[in-house]
């Protein structure tokens, strides 16, 4: 109330210290800063979210990660390996140049040329055998093998202007384009004059570590965005972010900590939260090589997790709802599979494992461990919401049914390095499905790890099930959406009933902002200024 009075007074009195903000200006506190303004430099959430303000893609993912038209008005698969995109006519870049199919080809050619990319976008344009423009409003892409995710993948690629970068005569060639000219360097895009896209905003100023300022692109093709100027400020520490919001330094922040929700609401601010595409899961070492001794298991010579009954016992011993209610404060959703409904490939009302410690004990006894065994649960302690606390809770629950569990929690950089060297028999981690559909989760976490084929890259439990592999691999080459979804649903059901991986819960992403704003939560956790709306004024 006191604050409301102060706000009221600010309008009447020329208070020396209150800088009146224009109604058209929005200040956002980011939890992590984009590492570059180059749309193709670093495939990372904060970069991709920022990119969408300035550089549009052919297509874009909506709040539920469904692919929607953006620069392409429509698209279709002509056959299993040919995609046709029909472009919107009359679109202009922010410097006035007309957008055409040439720009799409240029962009696809430029992506693999980015130097020193710490995480490249080449995955999205890999395996294209030809990219052609039969007319300026049409792009036809042919792929070597059937790739149903071509539209999803292209949604991550911001389109550059060929002309602005000196690539008017570009010709696509697999393995290296012709006429690309000198593609721009990543650092070039930090200069507003070079960051030319078709998006609703233009870059006005970028000072690394301090702020990113965007201005409305007056020649934007669609409805002009509400905010004339948007300032993004990196505020990586949670406390600083919340204080900045409460003090009125910023209007909108990402990821307020759960324990501050009450305070934020009591101070007259609002919180929006929505399901994310991130699953928190437990992986169990199931490597079948006879010479492999699983690390950290004591009390038995065998690897107990190779026995399905033990995996089932682990799953039944965990009270997911209790974790959601007590540790996550209700801000999470218990999970039965790896992707939440309504995302593509998830099943509506997928059953969630019931908490049943008695059944778990019985299963352990049947499997030959009436007295249980001892195991170490690896976990990061600064990567996911309450990650270490969740690991502690899981350890207690498992200990209760006889699997004596010690938690080894560590900082993320150490954890992932050790995890990737298979140093844990059991580990807790999270997975965000960037593409927003099930083949991403299944292939990354459940399909047998085969580095040479690019399969199962994050299946560090080394679960392996031939039937699941077949289904997922088949799905990844099935262009027909309905058929692919059925295959993925079946694969997921099979993997879950085999307890190849133990899903715990989906994270919920919160945003906090001042009264009078509203935000529709996004599954991909992006903060898009274009979708922050003003209500009631």
């Amino acid at each position: 109330m006191k604050r409301l009075c102060l706000i009221g007074l600010a309008g009447l009195l020329p208070l020396a210290f209150s800088a009146p903000a224009s109604a058209q200006e929005l200040k956002i506190g980011l939890a992590s800063e984009p590492t570059s303004m180059d749309p193709h430099f670093h495939n990372l959430g904060p970069n991709n979210a920022m990119r969408r303000h300035i550089f549009e893609g052919l297509v874009a993912q909506d709040a539920e990660q469904k692919v929607q038209p953006e620069l392409a008005a429509s698209w279709r698969a002509l056959d299993d390996t040919t995609w046709e995109f029909k472009l919107r006519p009359g679109v202009k870049f922010s410097n006035g140049i007309e957008f055409s199919a040439k720009d799409v080809i240029y962009t696809i050619c430029r992506v693999p040329t980015v130097e020193n990319s710490p995480s490249s976008f080449t995955f999205a344009v890999r395996n294209f055998t030809s990219v052609e423009a039969p007319d300026p409003q049409t792009v036809v892409i042919k792929t070597g093998t059937p790739l149903p995710l071509v539209p999803n993948n292209l949604a991550t690629i911001g389109i550059l202007s060929a002309q602005a970068n000196g690539g008017e005569n570009v010709k696509y060639r697999a393995g290296g384009c012709e006429g690309l000219g000198t593609p721009p360097k990543s650092a070039d895009f930090n200069d507003p004059a070079k960051a030319i896209g078709t998006g609703p905003y233009k870059l006005a100023n970028y000072t690394r570590g301090t702020s990113i300022i965007l201005e409305r692109n007056e020649s934007y093709r669609g409805r002009a965005p509400h905010w004339a100027k948007v300032t993004f400020r990196p505020m990586s520490s949670q406390g600083a972010r919340v204080a900045g919001l409460l003090a009125g330094d910023v209007d909108f922040i990402e990821n307020p900590p759960i324990q501050d929700f009450e305070r934020i609401k009591n101070a007259g601010f609002q919180i929006a939260e929505g399901l994310s595409n991130r699953i928190i899961y437990i992986h169990l070492d199931q490597f079948q090589d006879p010479n492999w001794k699983t690390p950290g298991v004591k009390g038995t010579d065998k690897n107990p997790f190779l026995d399905k009954r033990v995996r089932e016992a682990v799953s039944k011993a965990i009270n997911r709802q209790a974790i959601v209610d007590r540790i996550m404060g209700g801000h999470a959703k218990a999970a039965g599979e790896l992707l939440p409904y309504p995302l593509f490939g998830a099943t509506k009302d997928f059953p969630i494992e019931k908490y049943d410690p008695e059944a778990a004990k019985k299963l352990l006894a049947e499997a030959g461990y009436p007295n249980g065994f001892e195991v170490t649960l690896g976990s990061p302690n600064d990567r996911y919401i309450n990650d270490e606390k969740i690991a502690q809770a899981v350890a207690q629950m498992l200990t209760r049914v006889g699997i004596k569990t010690n938690v080894d929690a560590m900082t993320a950089s150490t954890f992932f390095t050790r995890r990737n060297k298979f140093e844990f028999s059991m580990y807790l981690a999270g997975w965000g499905a960037d593409s927003g559909e099930m083949s991403n989760s299944m292939n990354s976490l459940v399909v047998t790890l085969q580095p040479d084929k690019g399969l199962g890259p994050t299946n560090r439990g080394r679960y392996s099930n031939k039937r699941v592999d077949e289904l997922v691999v088949k799905a990844m080459a099935t262009v027909d959406d309905a058929a692919r979804e059925r295959l993925l649903q079946e694969a997921s059901k099979l993997a879950m009933s085999d307890y190849g991986i133990i899903p715990l819960h989906f994270e919920v992403t919160p945003w906090a902002f001042k009264k009078g704003l509203s935000y529709r939560p996004r599954v991909d956790q992006y903060t898009l200024a274009t979708e922050i709306t003003q209500v009631g004024s």
Binding site: G29, P118, P234, S237, A240, A243, S413
Partner: protein, 325 residues
């Protein structure tokens, strides 16, 4: 003086070399940057490509050799995360940090010396005792807590000052700075005060002890007997004589304010070098961490050198000894 300088420089170079080796090898042991940098769904091919691009596929000795070779040519490597020279990333943050450290220094002198001298002049008065016990608070309260309380009071409740960040930057003599505008100064006050509180407590104690000692010296009695005014005695004879320990301590503390204002910068989301260090450690941006620590060593060495030169300026005895030796 020249010999002394050369000797000091030689020592400094050795320190820098040892530091480089320690830091580089330690960073190598911490974790694999590819695990943090790569998109989680990157397959092995992509991960290998990243390692190759960043030169991480080579053995340790080769990476170290390359690092040393380049460092000798003035190149401390490119940031993995930003793909610009690591030194540029750090130098870009330097003005912000210098602003903060110097403002903090000014605060700690402005608070510390008057209070310390006052307490030293009247050690047994209520005021003197009050100042000394107050300074204990300055020592013992943790930095981040002070910062949070200041934010709560001045930013959230009173709304007088911003809760964090840096003010609008303008270019003065080619240096981008925020310290010459009202808005910029307002952003500086709280973090600088947070930084200064501990240092000013330190200064109070040193100044108090120094004043008590100096007041008993013969030359003060002599000055009194000569009939000099109290003001002249305090401002000329006392102040000058207590400055040496104060300058030593502040010099070293300035170094740590520049290099390790990590906590303050984090609490205030202040885009300085300390914040950069923390962010870089979290992202395993090795070149930036290594370059940062190397620059820190260099800064400390330089400050120590300046402090030594300042001694000579303040104390003629030092000057004479150096001239002889």
């Amino acid at each position: 003086m020249l010999v002394y300088l050369i000797r000091r420089l030689g020592q400094s170079l050795l320190v820098i070399a040892v530091m480089a080796t320690l830091v580089f090898v330690a960073m190598f042991a911490v974790g694999d940057p590819v695990d943090i940098l790569a998109s989680p769904d990157a397959d092995q091919r992509e991960r290998d490509a990243i390692a190759k691009r960043l030169g991480l596929d080579r053995p340790l000795w080769e990476q170290f050799g390359l690092f040393v070779w380049r460092a000798l040519h003035g190149d401390l490597g490119r940031s993995f995360v930003y793909n610009v020279p690591a030194v540029d990333v750090i130098l870009q943050r330097l003005p912000a940090t210098l602003e903060l450290a110097l403002t903090g220094l000014v605060f700690s002198i402005a608070i510390g010396i008057p209070l310390g001298v006052l307490a030293g002049l009247k050690p047994y008065s209520r005021l003197g005792r009050g100042i000394m016990s107050g300074s204990i608070l300055g020592f013992s309260l943790p930095n981040f807590w002070i910062g949070l309380m200041l934010i709560l009071l001045f930013a959230v409740e009173l709304r007088l000052l911003p809760a964090g960040g840096r003010g609008p930057v303008v270019s003065v003599l080619g240096i981008p700075t925020a310290a010459f505008s009202l808005e910029g100064l307002k952003h500086l006050i709280l973090p600088a005060l947070t930084l200064a509180l501990y240092k000013s407590a330190l200064v109070i104690r040193i100044a108090q002890a120094g004043t008590r000692e100096v007041m008993l010296q013969d030359y003060i009695r002599f000055a009194r007997a000569k009939g000099l005014s109290r003001q002249r005695i305090i401002f000329v004879h006392v102040l000058k004589n207590i400055m040496i320990p104060v300058v030593t301590v502040l010099g070293l503390e300035l170094g740590s304010m520049i290099a390790f204002a990590v906590v303050t910068e984090t609490v205030f989301a202040y885009p300085g070098m300390g914040k950069l260090l923390i962010d870089s450690i979290n992202r395993l941006d090795r070149p930036v961490i290594v370059a940062y620590l190397m620059m820190t060593v260099v800064i400390f060495v330089i400050i120590n050198l300046i402090v030594d030169l300042l001694y000579a300026a303040i104390d003629p005895r030092v000057r004479l000894a150096e001239a002889k030796g």
